[in-house]
């Protein structure tokens, strides 16, 4: 619309205005993602030689390269990208609904809830797929936070405090389930529960891939309506938005996105918090940027996982420990900033 920073993308009868800085941002993050992917596949002792990558990707690899690509690093990289994208989407939607960067799924205990759901389902009802547990846990945690604040997600301070309580409760449930059940299964879960990509397989790629394939287009189509909520409920409904319905759909999409991500990678902390914020700050737009947030989430998780595989000292650590450390610093910064703006 107009001369400034927007362009309209048209496909047949479909038309979407997009911000040019957002398009540029997406191109740059995609390029970075390709670079990180190449590094992930090629670095280190088991790395696939760069020259073999094109043929390996088209199915022509043999021996070690095939094993590394299909079993070892391929699924792990794909899951990092997909799970990171899902977390970015989840965070972008949730932060807009709560009207606060701190109202992120990871801060309010959605990830912890999903983790508890996986722990309970996989150890107590092993026949039910753990992804169902993740979504149920995430949903239950969201409902609990919503009820505990007494006024939905509108008050950031209450949302965060209720979220801390719900997260603590979820960890308690997880610990209880883990410590009262078989030790070998439990020890595998322990790594998973800080967020880890060490044990992912092709099935995880398929499950999260399907989730992303469904949630991403829905979130993109819906992001305009969600953006309108930032003008306040009355103004939004003046231009034809149903604020409550919009919030509900956004929260449901967000819960499914976070749940699907947790099901594969565990409750990786702070990607959902940071990715939408990074995207938003760099682009400088108020519209909820689903695709940039998704790409940033993918990039953050892929970089963290590359570090977890290759960087001395942190090598071999679950990826969640890395994001926890870096993201925790950012959370502290946000808390101070929001407090000084008087929004807490």
């Amino acid at each position: 619309m107009g001369r400034a920073v927007s362009t309209v993308i048209r496909v047949g009868r479909l038309a979407f205005p997009v911000h040019r800085p957002a398009v540029l941002f997406c191109l740059v993050t995609t390029a970075a993602l390709v670079l990180v992917s190449a590094l992930t596949l090629t670095l280190g002792e088991l790395g696939i030689p760069l020259a073999e990558i094109p043929s390996a990707l088209s199915g022509g690899a043999e021996g070690t390269s095939a094993f590394v690509l299909e079993r070892l690093r391929g699924p792990r990289l794909a899951t990092a990208i997909i799970a990171g994208a899902l977390l970015g989407i989840s965070g972008a939607l949730f932060q807009t609904v709560t009207g606060n960067p701190l109202g992120s799924p990871d801060v309010i205990g959605l990830g912890a809830g999903a983790g508890a759901g996986v722990a309970v389902i996989s150890l107590v009802f092993p026949l039910i797929p753990s992804s169902i547990g993740a979504v149920l846990g995430a949903g239950l945690a969201t409902v609990l936070v919503y009820v505990c604040t007494g006024r939905g997600f509108r008050s950031p301070a209450r949302t965060i405090i209720a979220g801390i309580a719900v997260a603590a409760l979820s960890y308690a449930i997880t610990q209880y389930v883990v410590s009262t059940h078989l030790r070998d299964a439990a020890s595998q879960l322990a790594a998973y529960l800080v967020g880890s990509l060490n044990a992912v397989n092709a099935q995880d790629v398929v499950v999260t891939g399907i989730a992303l394939g469904v949630i991403l287009p829905a979130a993109i189509a819906f992001s305009r309506d969600v953006s309108m909520l930032e003008m306040g409920d009355d103004t939004a409904s003046g231009v034809g938005i149903d604020p409550n319905r919009t919030r509900t759909i956004a929260v449901i999409l967000s819960v499914f996105a976070a749940g699907a991500s947790v099901a594969a990678a565990g409750p990786v902390s702070f990607v959902a918090l940071t990715a939408p914020q990074i995207a938003r700050r760099v682009i400088g737009t108020s519209h909820v940027s689903i695709v940039p947030a998704a790409l940033t989430g993918a990039l953050v998780l892929a970089v963290a996982d590359l570090a977890a595989q290759q960087v001395p000292f942190v090598e071999g650590l679950p990826v969640g420990v890395l994001t926890l450390g870096v993201g925790g610093i950012y959370l502290g910064y946000l808390l101070v900033r929001e407090h000084s703006k008087g929004r807490l």
Partner: protein, 272 residues
């Protein structure tokens, strides 16, 4: 421009019928009946907290009546889809929230949202409509500035531009002149008159009684959730209503140019 074509049949208009309006546990208006006068510029006046915004929110479908209903074109607005209502009625609340890092043009463009669908979020004519709305409210000069960088009055005019871009037959404005300096207040009131001349129906909550009497074609006086008087400004305003509703000891004079009633507050030092 879409213009109102339904002056003839009153059943087709926008009205509130036997409504009880309020918020959890607090009833503001009960048994309220009100029909918006087609093709007029109506000003609603009344003291703080008397229920003006509540009435406007009910008309705009934002507030669900606890009983009774709001009817537009002969149907209950609650049965219509929000976007369909937003193509008939544009409403600017008293306290819109300015989103961070949103540019003026993009905010005004949001007025086109009721005409879009999930898969078609832009129309070829949108850019011109948005430009025209910005020109009419005098905000075209800062089309590319951030909303949060504008003064209160500039921002207010941007919100009005958004409402204009909605191109509705009904335009409901809650205190559109607050934050504006006198020149811009007058400009806005002229804009309301222009919209009326265009065939639109305008309802605005105003606090300045004299401005309401001078510029609006129809006056509604509210008190304690009830509509106590309604009619042409010259018929509605007298010393009695001013004393009863606003608690002001005033003298009614005539505006020398328009002949509209004008209130002067009696000086308390001058014995009557």
């Amino acid at each position: 421009m879409t213009t109102a074509t339904r002056f003839e049949n009153p059943a087709d208009g926008l009205r509130i019928q036997d409504a009880r309006l309020g918020y959890d546990g607090r009833i503001v208006s009960d048994g309220l009946n009100f029909s918006v006068r087609e093709g007029e510029f109506t000003a609603i006046i009344g003291p703080n907290g008397c229920g003006k915004s509540t009435l406007l929110k009910a008309l705009a479908r934002t507030l669900k009546p606890l009983a009774g209903k709001v009817i537009v074109d002969g149907v209950d607005v609650r049965t219509l889809r929000p976007k369909a209502v937003a193509r008939r009625i544009a409403a600017l609340p008293q306290h819109p929230v300015a989103p961070e890092s949103l540019r003026v043009r993009d905010l005004v463009a949001r007025g086109r949202h009721p005409y879009h669908s999930l898969l078609r979020q832009w129309h070829p004519g949108d850019a011109e409509i948005v430009d025209a709305a910005m020109a009419a409210t005098g905000v075209a000069d800062y089309a590319d500035r951030l909303l949060t960088e504008l003064s209160g009055g500039q921002r207010q005019r941007v919100w009005i531009a958004m409402v204009l871009a909605q191109q509705t037959d009904y335009v409901l404005l809650d205190e559109p002149t607050s934050f504006l300096d006198l020149a811009h207040q007058v400009e806005l009131l002229h804009l309301c008159q222009d919209m009326r001349a265009d065939g639109r129906t305008v309802v605005a909550v105003l606090h300045d009684i004299n401005q309401a009497a001078r510029y609006a074609s129809h006056l509604v006086v509210m008190h304690d959730g009830e509509i106590v008087r309604e009619g042409a400004p010259g018929d509605v305003l007298d010393a009695e209503v001013v004393a009863d509703v606003f608690g002001i000891d005033g003298i009614i004079e005539r505006d020398s140019q328009s002949g509209a009633p004008m209130i002067t507050v009696r000086d308390r030092r001058v014995p009557s």
